[in-house]
Every structure is written in structure tokens, then in C-alpha cells.
């Protein structure tokens, strides 16, 4: 069963299907009834706070763990029972995995390409990932970004239909992270489906066609990043510096306004498009000018905070001094 599966996709068989997945460690459920489908050709994000069960979920997809209950299928195959066939069509980059310290890039690529029935040309792959000058360098001396690019190459060397990328950019500097993001988009553009595990909202918003938000082992939301943001009650953020102080009560009474925050002279207002209209009318009526006026959509980050951490014990990131008005 694919929760909230858009009708237009109903006829195509999903490439990856997870349904009612449940996994316990020592009697404690880590994944508790997660369901989603990944369609061929998309970048599908699995988001959630640390310890939410993201990695366990994708490890069940990779066949590294056996589910306690539920159904996992990759191209119609069971990742545990049909391990060899699933491994042929699903590439993987695992969280916190390393290689032999003295193995060279060339040796790793050549060894991994021998595992697959139809390996890609590893030299071409290395060139596309900018590793062509690093072929004789040992794994232990590669930089963090080069290691991750090698792991992407190893995930792709079997010409897979889908790849699982788990916390791919954790620990990379911003420049290396952007390079890796472009590579992930290239993977999708070459027709390979991507299942991306991340806790970085910026990464998910930039890359993912659809995301599943997992919190406390359960599915908290499923949809495109834009859908998740618009599901928020206050999808618009308005910030400005009024030329004269405004009574706060008046701002919070604006239609659609959800929260008002003042930091010195600067006012930040969360609300809807309606709030923007009403605010401009109010300011004009009072002959107050709004300096440095900025109106922007809420980010996936904001939506994520709304969706997660409400009932679970997971620590909720600090939310500034925000006053919730409703």
C-alpha cells in the first residue's frame, strides 16, 4: 500500500515499495509501520531527526536487515530472499562505511565492477566523478569529498536502476557538498532512481522530488517539498523594520497571522498571503513605512519542525524566542 500515492502514477509499478515496515531492536520499535513508494526516475528523500529510523528503513530496502513485519520490494523482488538479484540493480552508499586504508581508487573500482553482471566502464565513471587523477591514490589519503565521490562511483559501478545514498554529505565542507549535490542531480538525469537519506533540510529541498518525513519510527508526512511547506498553517514569512513602533496586538490580529517576533526594531511575522495584503493595508493606513521589507516562503526546515518532535522525546532544535499565538 502506498500512502497518498498520486493517481497519475497509479498504473506504473513503483521501483521501491515499503509497506507497513516494522523493525525492533531488543523489543524497542525503531521503525513502526512506515509505508512509501519510490517511483522510477525520481530523487526520493527520507528525512527525519537523528535516531528517527531512517537508516534502519533503507537498510531493510538494501537487504542488510530483515524486517520484523511489513513488506519491502525492489522491482518486485524481496531484498532478503532475492538478495543477489536486488544487489545487482540497487547500488548503495552506506553511512559511516570505509574501505581498506591501503586500497587505491583504481583497485576499489576494478574489484567492485567484477561483482556485477553488467558493470559500467569504471574509468569513464571515475572521470565523470573527477577522480581520474586520483586512481593510484590510497583510500586513506583521499579527502572527505573524494571519498564520498568514490562511494558514489562504487554505488554506480554495477549500472544499477536505483541507488541508496545515506547521509552522503555529512561532514563535507559547503563547496564539496554542492559538488556532490550536482552529482546526485546528474545521477537522476541519467535515469537512475535515487533514495536519499538526509537530515539536512537544505539538501532535501534542493534535490528531492518527493520526501518521506520519519519521526520516532513513524511516517510523519509524505509529499513534494512544496506540498509539505504549503501544508503548514503559516507558509509565508514577512520581515520588516517599521518606521514607527507598531502595537503587537494589531499585528497578531491580522488575518492568517500565526506568530509575531520582534528583535529590536525588526519584526518577523509568520502567516499567509492574506497576512501580507492586510499588513500592507494597515501600514499604508497608519502612514508607516516598512524598511527592508522581505516576504519569502517558509522553508522545508520550518515545515520539518512543525512535523517532527511534537510528541516524541527527540530533542527539538531551538526555535528562537517565538511566541505562538494560536
Amino acid at each position: 500500500m502506498c500512502a497518498r500515492w498520486p493517481l497519475r502514477h497509479a498504473r506504473a509499478m513503483p521501483l521501491i515499495e515499503v509497506s507497513g515496515l516494522r523493525k525492533e531492536y531488543e523489543g524497542r520499535p525503531v521503525v513502526d509501520g512506515v509505508s512509501f513508494c519510490v517511483e522510477e526516475g525520481e530523487i526520493f528523500g527520507v528525512l527525519g531527526p537523528n535516531g528517527a529510523g531512517k537508516t534502519t528503513t533503507v537498510e531493510c530496502v538494501e537487504g542488510l536487515r530483515t524486517p520484523d513485519a511489513g513488506r519491502v520490494r525492489v522491482a518486485g523482488l524481496d531484498p532478503v530472499a532475492d538478495h543477489d538479484d536486488v544487489a545487482q540493480l540497487l547500488g548503495a552508499q552506506l553511512q559511516e562505511s570505509r574501505l581498506q586504508p591501503k586500497i587505491t581508487v583504481r583497485e576499489a573500482l576494478r574489484m567492485y565492477s567484477a561483482f556485477y553482471r553488467q558493470p559500467a566502464d569504471w574509468r569513464a565513471l571515475a572521470a565523470k566523478l573527477g577522480l581520474q587523477d586520483r586512481l593510484d591514490v590510497r583510500f586513506g589519503t583521499l579527502s572527505g569529498g573524494q571519498k564520498q565521490r568514490l562511494f558514489i562511483a562504487l554505488a554506480l559501478v554495477g549500472s544499477p536502476r536505483a541507488v541508496v545514498l545515506d547521509e552522503l554529505t555529512t561532514g563535507l565542507d559547503p563547496r564539496a557538498r554542492r559538488t556532490v549535490w550536482e552529482l546526485v542531480e546528474d545521477i537522476r538525469d541519467s535515469g537512475v532512481t535515487v533514495l536519499l537519506v538526509t537530515h539536512l533540510m537544505e539538501e532535501a529541498q534542493r534535490l528531492c522530488d518527493r520526501v518521506a518525513v520519519i519521526d520516532g519510527g513513524r511516517l510523519a508526512a509524505l509529499g513534494t517539498p512544496a506540498e509539505l511547506i504549503s501544508q503548514k498553517a503559516d507558509p509565508t514569512v514577512i520581515a520588516f523594520t517599521p518606521s514607527q513602533p507598531l502595537p503587537e496586538g494589531e499585528l497578531s490580529a491580522l488575518p492568517g497571522a500565526r506568530s509575531v517576533r520582534t528583535q529590536g526594531p525588526r519584526v518577523t511575522l509568520h502567516g499567509t498571503d492574506e497576512t501580507v495584503d492586510a499588513l500592507l493595508t494597515t501600514l499604508a493606513r497608519r502612514r508607516i513605512t516598512a524598511g527592508q521589507l522581505r516576504v519569502k516562503d517558509a522553508s522545508l526546515d520550518d515545515a520539518f519542525l512543525d512535523l517532527t518532535g511534537n510528541e516524541s522525546a527527540a530533542p527539538r532544535p531551538a526555535h528562537a524566542h517565538q511566541e505562538n499565538l494560536t
Binding site: E62, G63, L64, D84, A87, Q88, L90, A92, L94, E96, S97, R98, L99, Q100, K102, I103, E107, A108, R110, M111, Y112, A114, F115, Y116, R117, Q118, P119, A120, D121, W122, A124, L125, K128, L129, L156, V157, G158, S159, P160, L183, D186, I187, D189, S190, G191, V192
Partner: protein, 266 residues
């Protein structure tokens, strides 16, 4: 294909060739190259046992026939000891630290996500360490024969059987150690602690044949004490005693059973 495709060349239809044997060969070839990059392991497994035999053989009194040893020379007894030494170092010291390191670093886990299996890596390591021991054994026998006039094994078939069983015992004990030690540090510590009693029972300080009767009978029930006796018997020209072969085989079976039951991939 017009897009900038990262997936490489266009794929031929599925099922073209099986992944099994080529995967194992590829792992074996890569692990062989990596093994050659570990000078420490190579030294202790391949160089040290022949070097020890050479040093002991250079002591004049060790080359004189001794009535206590039934008219044999000390250097004659140290050939099987050097053979055992190379097998114990390779199986119990070198291999477990490599395998636990592979588990710690997630290398075994990463292989589980490919059509290759992590046991390919295990097999490759066992084969490589077995071959390194074999090279060391050949060096020891050659040095013994050429430099110190120690006769080659009189009962060659019996010697091969005893040597294969001994190598099996050492490698399977190493596999047990790799299975139960959670970290490389633990594996190295336990390996070093276990090394001294094993070397004692193998006869490094006092050849088993020269031990007092009671001690010798006890030592003959340990895996390497029995192996030492079996190797020595085959070296002197008789078929090794079935008790010694049986004891070594039984220990090997226990080690293999324990390692298979307890081994964890992550």
C-alpha cells in the same frame, strides 16, 4: 544517449554472466596486493620463522647430537617449531587484526550490499594467510636442509597431512578470535596473550620431545602440542600418530564450529 549520464555505458540485457567466481577472484587479487603492502605482517609470517631457525642453527651446541634427545640435534627439533611458529603468527596474530579491522571499518557491511558476499573476503584472507605460511614452511625446510643438514620430511604424505591440519587449526583459531573480538585492539591483545601459551605448547622454548613425561602428555592434548608431535614424527620418517592428528583435527573442528556460530558481519 544524449544526457550526461553518470551510469556509464549502456547496459546489455540481464543475466549475461554470473557474478560468483569472478567476484571471489577479484577480491582475492585485490587482497593479495593489499597483503603485500603490510611489511609488518609479511615479516612476522614469512621472514621471522626462517630467521629464527637460522639464528638457532648458528649456535654450535645446537648442531651437536644429544643423548637426551635420542641422538638427535636441537636444530632438528626446531624445524617443526619454526613451521608451527609461522602458522600461529599468521593465523592467530595477523589475520584476526585484519578481519576485525574490516568489520570495524564497515568493509564487511559494505560488501553485504553488493552481489559479492562478505565471506569472499574471509575466504581470501584465509587463503592468503595459508599461502604465506606455506611459503614460510618451504623456506624453513630449505634452510634446514641446505644450511644445517636437517633431512627433509621422511614421510612426505604424512607431513603434508600434519601441516595442513596444523594450518587449519591456526587459521580456524584466528577465525574464532576474529569472531569474538569486537575491536581490533581486543583481537590484538587476546592474540598476544594467547601467543605465549601456544608457543610454549608448540615447543619454542623447550621442544615437546624434551619435556618431562607428565608435561609432555598434557601438552599433547593441546592443538599445537599435538601438531608439533605429528610434524616431528612425519619429519623423522614415520606416519604421524593418529592420536596427534586426531587431537589437532578435533580442535580444528571445535574452532570452525565456534567461529561459524559466533561470527558477526558488523
Amino acid at each position: 544517449m544524449t544526457t550526461a549520464h553518470l551510469s556509464g555505458t549502456a547496459a546489455p540485457p540481464h543475466g549475461a554472466k554470473p557474478a560468483g567466481p569472478s567476484a571471489l577472484l577479484s577480491v582475492l587479487r585485490t587482497e593479495f596486493r593489499l597483503f603485500l603492502r603490510e611489511p609488518g605482517a609479511l615479516f612476522w609470517v614469512v621472514v621471522f620463522p626462517p630467521a629464527l631457525l637460522t639464528i638457532l642453527g648458528c649456535i654450535p651446541s645446537f648442531r651437536e647430537a644429544s643423548a637426551d634427545l635420542g641422538g638427535r640435534r636441537t636444530v632438528d627439533l626446531y624445524v617443526p617449531v619454526a613451521v608451527l611458529l609461522s602458522m600461529i603468527v599468521s593465523g592467530v596474530q595477523t589475520m584476526p587484526s585484519i578481519l576485525t579491522g574490516y568489520r570495524e571499518r564497515g568493509i564487511l557491511r559494505r560488501l553485504r550490499a553488493t552481489p559479492a558476499r562478505p565471506h569472499h573476503l574471509l575466504t581470501a584472507q584465509i587463503v592468503l594467510h595459508g599461502c604465506a605460511s606455506a611459503a614460510s614452511v618451504l623456506l624453513v625446510l630449505a634452510i634446514g636442509r641446505l644450511a644445517f643438514d636437517v633431512s627433509l620430511p621422511g614421510q612426505l604424505a604424512g607431513y603434508l597431512v600434519a601441516a595442513a591440519l596444523t594450518a587449519g587449526a591456526a587459521l580456524s583459531l584466528g577465525a574464532v578470535l576474529s569472531a569474538i573480538a569486537r575491536t581490533t585492539k581486543i583481537a590484538q591483545t587476546v592474540g598476544t596473550l594467547a601467543f605465549f601459551p601456544m608457543m610454549f605448547t608448540a615447543g619454542v622454548w623447550l621442544p615437546v620431545q624434551a619435556m618431562p613425561d607428565t608435561l609432555r602428555h598434557l601438552v599433547e592434548f593441546t592443538p599445537f602440542g599435538a601438531a608439533s608431535q605429528a610434524l616431528d614424527q612425519a619429519a623423522t620418517g614415520s606416519w604421524p600418530g593418529w592420536t596427534h592428528l586426531g587431537v589437532t583435527a578435533l580442535w580444528t573442528a571445535v574452532f570452525v564450529w565456534t567461529a561459524v556460530r559466533r561470527f558477526r558481519w558488523e
